[in-house]
Amino acid sequence: MSATAEHAQPGFWRHYVFSTDHKMIGKQYILTAVVMALFATTWSVLLRLHLAWPQAQWPLLGKLFPGLFQDGVLLPERYLSLVTMHGTVMIFFVISISLVSGFGNFVIPLQIGARDMAYPFLNMLSYWTIVPACLIMLASFFAPEGAAGSGWTAYPPLSALPDAAPGSGLGQTLWLFAMALFIASFTMGGLNFVTTILNLRTRGMSMFRMPLTVWTMFIASILGILAFPALTAAAIMLLLDRLGSTSFFLPSGLVMGGTVLPHQGGTPLLFQHLFWFLGHPEVYVLVLPAIGIAFDVVAAHGRRPVFGYRTSVWALVVVAVLSMIVWGHHMFVSGMSPYVGEYFSIATVSITGPFAVLALNLVASLWRAEIRLTSAMMFALAIVAAVGIGGVGGIFLATATSDQYLHNSYFVVGHFHLMIAVVTFFAIFAGIYHWFPKMFGRRMNETLGKAHFWLTVPTTIAGFVTMHFLGMAGEQRHLYDPSAYKFLEPVQWLNVLISILLFIPGAAQFLFLWNFFHSMVAGERVGPNPWQATTLEWTTESPAPHLNWGAELPVAYRGPYDYRLNGAPDGYEPQAAAPSAAALVTS
């Protein structure tokens, strides 16, 4: 009597909609992220159009988006709403929910040999909390004065005083509610990941036999659980300041519209501390799983064990610990004590140590490899390039003295896009090309995948690197119209260049989406292990069945990356292969 037979396949609603199956929930997260990404990318196109040609009129766009444009020109307050929503939606509702919630859900139980998450119902609840969060966030565009426009950081007093800006009215309130739901959902997901990884590993799957993707999801989840409460507190306090006339973040003497506000005793700096206590670890919540996926893909498609598996794990742990105590590097020019600033600077640049270990281990994992240039592998290689450039840029911002000049400039915009947009999106692509067969039992089209790579990678990296130059020239972020400043005139051509460079990958994603959805129904069918990979998810059918394996769960007999260790050029030893049988498994 097999486990699958005991638990009959659920009906349509329980299978596709209110599913408690981690694989379906993972796919639901990824599909939700795709929808949200379409919105957030469209907004960024509008922003880049305006930044490159601030004087140009776009009558057609004016007709398409009547609320955002006037006489074919994007309105300044709508510009700020679009920037805010682009950042918020991309970070929380696209990258967090696809890379962490999506891949985490799909991959963790399969890679550790579990039948599902520890709390399947909580898992479903977590997804169905994200859905209203997305809807509320999108609906905030229809607030009378428009969506929130105080940046994704939502610094008060701008975000606290409804009269401070058009977007600071109902739009900001809806933004806060949507964020509160997101945090609730992400916390449920994180608790589930940590519990699952600690308790449901199959026989033989010791912590140091877990694939690096699982390690990074584990560490990212712990980071999220520790850091998000600070933002929860900040969001509640901000809501109270807005709706309950408290003064957590509002000092006395505020003048708005000619009247003195009754607030007293608070300080806006408190919010910044709380926000970045979350905000900085959140960056690593996104980047670490991307690096984990890169390691798994490089190992499987490079046909060799990861270089420095253990040192990578410890480097991840050290990065995570350090990420909790460096938030103040976002506040060097806030008026924080210069002594505290120097502490944060010294602590932050020390992250380059363990981070360099991760980058070097990724590069060294190519040494004596047998590289198979699949689409997944090519995106994984591009991650290495983006991590290198993005990591180096971070040093300039972490050094308090150079941040004195570069703070809030396009250098920052270029840097964080490289790290938490380029690195993470490349990881999402690598992950989808790699795990698609396990998700749908079919393979994505490799030719289209490579076209997607060539249209996406060179232009994205060049576009965001160019933003660093713009920042070096002094251009500030959140700037609606660069032509308002004379000293920026000589570098306006960089804005044109960036926009053109980034429109190309923007459009190329439709190629990816076509490949994704078309391959779902018409891709080449594959067996359990199309990549000849070692980790446990490749021991079950493709797509993985309900409850993942038949009657017997696989047993982990060895580490996750035993490629070519048995002497045969293409040989590999699956984690689940018993030692006696291992010698037989070669490709």
């Binding site: 270089f307 040192t311 210069p338 600077s345 980058a359 004195q404 020239a473």
Partner: protein, 274 residues
Amino acid sequence: MKRERRQTGEVVALILLFLAITVFTVGGFARQWMPPVASAHGVGVDGVIWYLLKATGPVLVTGAVIFMYFLWRYGRGRPTPAPTPNPRAELWWSIVPVVGMMALTEVGVVVKGMPVWEQIYAPIPADAVTVEVTGQQFEWIVRYPGPDGKFGRVKPELVDKTNPAGLDRDDPAALDDIVVRNQVHVPLGRPVYIRLRGRDVLHSFSVASFRVKQDVVPGVLNRVLFVATAPGRYEIACTQVCGMGHYKMHGAVYVDQPQDYQDWLQHQTGWLQQ
């Protein structure tokens, strides 16, 4: 065999791509993008930026060269000996980057950066010109203490169009306070201390040519200290998003010859005396 040749072509293309990215990045950063520096500590800020460029550039190039070599050597489907994990070597290859990168970056923060940081946050020199700048949506209210050398009392409830600084008539020291909008006049070569205040939302007082950037935080008295080293007009930009008019919240710092500065100052009358 055909497949291998095809992958060779792809490997070459990939190597060219990563080469192009490296050249683009390093070449781009080697260019002088920053506007000419016009303050004493700004030279130090630029020094830190150039130190970091020169220190990290070779690291990036070395990494890229190794990366491209590995692609070339192990990317063309030629059998190579199977690698054997060697924990000792892996440990060493962790110690090298940790020590190397931390040394390189901590030198940037401590050795190169800290003296400049101390300059920025030095005690206010006795001969400094003191100016108060208040950021509000979407302008900079600039106040000089006037002939008595004392800033008079201001009250938020007195702020209106006719009294942008909210000067209190009842305080004799306030009568001669000079108030101008969106322009700061400072003498060449003398320390300038700006008292930064705010009364609505966050702003940031930034002058790219001086390498000066400091947030305006309501309820907190922030400070800017610099010595201008070249006469001219320098744009002030607000670099902290502050609402609809954020992009046009600009002003200018005029660096005058000391005599011109004195002349300008003497031609100003107290706001309340106008």
